[in-house]
């Protein structure tokens, strides 16, 4: 019954992720929340590494911890005026939402626990060269979703620009 390295890594990462996620949710200052969010994302990147998904871990760090968080900070800057002290408060739904979230967790946990036997305990071996494999898959079998995602990104880009840039048409639009 010794603590394997794998287990130690998992429990550490899990603790980091859960604690930082809780801090994200409970924090009253939104800037602090975003900073804790970065920690959560990094923890998740660690989990990805544990799961032999190197490429994904990199993407996670680049996209989530980097780009998304920066973008959210920009969002905060553009919308929040004055003090950040109480910029991220709870509303009245706490009373229902807390038990609901707890229950969903409980049910998911229970189901996961019951179905333990049917899930393989130790994973298979993922090919080491994940990046090239994924690249091949993406450009062959999954080329259509890939292109669709590309188009989606383009649309989102244009849409975001249009929505955020509305300020100019505003004057004559109304």
């Amino acid at each position: 019954m010794e603590l394997t390295l794998e287990a130690a890594a998992f429990w550490t990462l899990a603790a980091v992720i859960i604690v930082s996620a809780l801090l994200v949710v409970t924090g009253k200052n939104i800037v602090h929340s975003i900073l804790w969010l970065v920690v959560t994302f990094l923890g998740i990147a660690g989990v990805f590494i544990m799961l032999d998904a190197m490429f994904l871990a990199a993407v996670q760090v680049l996209v989530y911890a980097g780009a998304v968080c920066i973008m959210v900070v920009f969002g905060v800057m553009l919308t929040q005026r004055g003090s950040m002290e109480k910029s991220s408060l709870f509303n009245k739904r706490v009373i229902i939402a807390a038990p609901l979230a707890g229950l969903i967790l409980a049910v998911a946990g229970f189901l996961a626990a019951v179905s333990k036997e049917s899930v393989p305990l130790s994973g298979g071996t993922v090919p080491a060269d994940t990046v090239s494999s994924i690249g091949e898959w993406m450009l062959t079998r999954y080329v259509v979703p890939f292109e669709a995602a590309a188009i989606l990104l383009l649309v989102a880009l244009i849409g975001a620009v249009f929505l955020a840039g509305e300020v100019n048409t505003d004057a004559d639009g109304r």
């Binding site: 949710v25 969010l37 959210v72 969002g75 919308t79 899930v119 999954y142 990104l153």
Partner: protein
Amino acid sequence: MLMGVSAVHFVLLSAALFGIGLFGALVKKNAISVLICIELMLNAVNINLVAFNKYVTPGTFIGQLFAIFIITVAAAEVGVALAIIIAIFRHRLSVNLDDFDWLKW
């Protein structure tokens, strides 16, 4: 229990993260906070997908591919959502979701 790390562990981790994100998404007043919490939920899903990729179908990368698409879509979503929040903020001078109730009757 503490010894090996199996798929169940990751599923439980993912569930916990999802629960936290859900809780935040439901109770936060600030629209950007809600957006952040939604990202947490998406990440929880990603953990699940990658975990199953490793434990169930290690050779085919389906889970990872799925996760990549989710990340892509999430990035797009964040962009558009922030743009919408900013646009609304311009009209209402508020990011409190409870003020955005003009979908009602």
